[in-house]
Amino acid sequence: MAKSFNEITFKYKTNFIDRVSFFVSIFLISTIGLSIFSLLNSGFRSEDAFLTNEDIFEIIKFTFVQSFFSVFLSLLLGFLGAKILFDIKSVLFKKIVISLTSIAFVLPTVVACIGLIKVWGGDGILHLIRLTLNLNKNELTLYGLFGILLAHVFFNAPLFLRVFYNCFQIIPVNYLKNAKQFNITGIRFFKLIEWPFIKETLPLLCGVVFLQCFTSFSLILMLGGGPSATTLEVAIYTAVRYDFDLKSAAVLASFQLFICLIVILFLDLFSSNKISNLQIKTNHLNYNLYKKNTFKNNIQKFIILLAYFLIIILPLIALVVSGLSLKIFEILKNQNTYIVFLNSILIAIISSFITVSISWFISETRANIVMKYDNTFKDILIKKFINLSIMLYLAVPAIVLGTGLFILLKGFVSYNYFPILILIFSNVMLCLPFSVNIIQSHSIYLRRKHDKLCSSLGLRGWNRFIIIDFPAMKNVFGLSLGLCACLSLGDLSVIALFGSQNFQTIPWLIFQYMSTYRINEAASVSCLLVITCYLFFIFFSKMLGSKHVNN
């Protein structure tokens, strides 16, 4: 029987690439699985635990409460912000807002914390204003639930804004005209016009943000404010690092894994080809309907924009102002700073290249499956398995991974190299979902565009990669490398467990300055970190970018 074109086209690539992806996925899942097993095994064998059942219940309750309110507040502010952005006519304003929201995506969490402390902290701008105006009666403490919510809104409101704004942009303009001619406003406008365009994306988006807030570590570590405001992830860290209470750590990790896996399974229900909805577009609506600006409208807009200014923009400004002070010269004179930066940069480069290489293999395998007309049960299983390997790290606490691997590899790997290896592994796992998402959509696009032509020209395998795929994907690789480098440079998770005077990274150094209340030094190092991230991003984009390739 003659083979269909579909089969002939894919045959040249699937074997090798699919095998590599499959083995990489097995490696990732088994490494994480073994690390969890080794911690749980050691933990449940231990006899004494410092944490009581009530303590654990309180920690779980707080983790849920802060995650729920973080999602709710981010969603609310993101939605209202997107509505304003959609209504405002100025293209320049839209561009500025979108650029600012992009900063929040790539800004390291430790850096954002410094910015928030500079505005909302005890010696922050708002505190000084309150003192000046004699309004210091009901003082809000940043450290605790309030600070955690602020920080989560800082990172997630821009994400909601961007996704909702994209959703609003695809509302047909005639729907909006109909709404105007039939006076559909308020809650009815939301139900009839906006809801149908956001409802598809909402569960997945809320789920991902919930998971991020639920497993949030560095923000809680820096802004949590002690045992009364701690999450599962930070409680595991405290149990391991300060008390070496492996039993409590194992119990907490079990709860976290169980809850997060349920959320991941829930996300999987909504993930069928919806992931592309989360990708960021920067199109601008070139058609604005006339809208009367009433006093009430203007007041509403002012309040929302003020909230954005105080939560997102002012912390960024405060960070730059305080970071670029004379302290920066002291930091630059210190030789240790260069060693720390070199450590971080090397680890970030290695992690980024490994991540992008793995991402390409996984993306190609997923593209193979997506582009087949009829997927077999085996295809679906492989896809689910690969998805699990990418998403698993969202559920697994970095501290569990680090501790588990430490117990597992103790005696096999020298402690001198261990933190570096585990840091690279955790960076790769952290960056994989983003990198795969960026590369995969372009990979599918190129496959659809080039497969038939390459088949007819006999281009296959390595030749095809060098001549066709790599040049066409250079920009995407560059973007992905840049993003991975930024994420790796700023991550304070596993390093919190293994950081010491002998081995430090930039986020660890910032955390150390903060722990000793040297906020200005922390702000200066944060500024240097942001500059390093920016240079990395530009370097990779320019190094691999091509003006002849349209992405």
């Binding site: 109909n178 001619q181 006076n183 009839l192 016009i193 006339y290 009367k292």
Partner: protein, 205 residues
Amino acid sequence: MLIIENLEFSWPTKEKFQFNFSVKEGEIVTLEGPSGIGKTTLVNLIAGFLQPEKGEIYWHKERIDFLDPVERPVSTIFQTDNLFEHLSCFQNVSLASSSDGKISNSRVEQINNYFLEMGIRNLQSRFPGEISGGQQARVSIVRALLANKPILLLDEPVSSLDERTRFETLEVIKKTALKYNLTLIIVSHQKEDRKFLNARQIRLY
């Protein structure tokens, strides 16, 4: 009479339009002219979706250009996306009767009668994606009738239909306009449409 007096509008691309004309009550006119000349812009200005920079619009000597779309004596039917995909035809039509979704028994009867008149009685519970382009146009006409406005603006309502359906839909539009004494302003690229509707041409240059 609808009077468009020295109406000016310009897009950010500096493309500037100026309009001057009048239409008698119950008259049928076609707006014609090459692409980019401002036909749709004019429809949007009359309907209130765009605000003119200068000039006035009068209906029966009353100025209407500062009114919101819902307050203007105008119903508009567009070329595409007239009906909300996620609402049934009945729900789509009922929006013209009440924006909060509540609808009286007498209005339900009126909707039934209009559906019957348009020959689409059995389509009330269907969704827009389940019916043809011509049927969608008829549902839009029912909604426009229910809004009870004396001016009906149609922005290329039949251009995406095949020839037979196009003339069937135009026939419905013409009959409806004559029966309910509607002032009809229709954007069209086809000379045949004007002849078929027995309309006066307003050509934009």
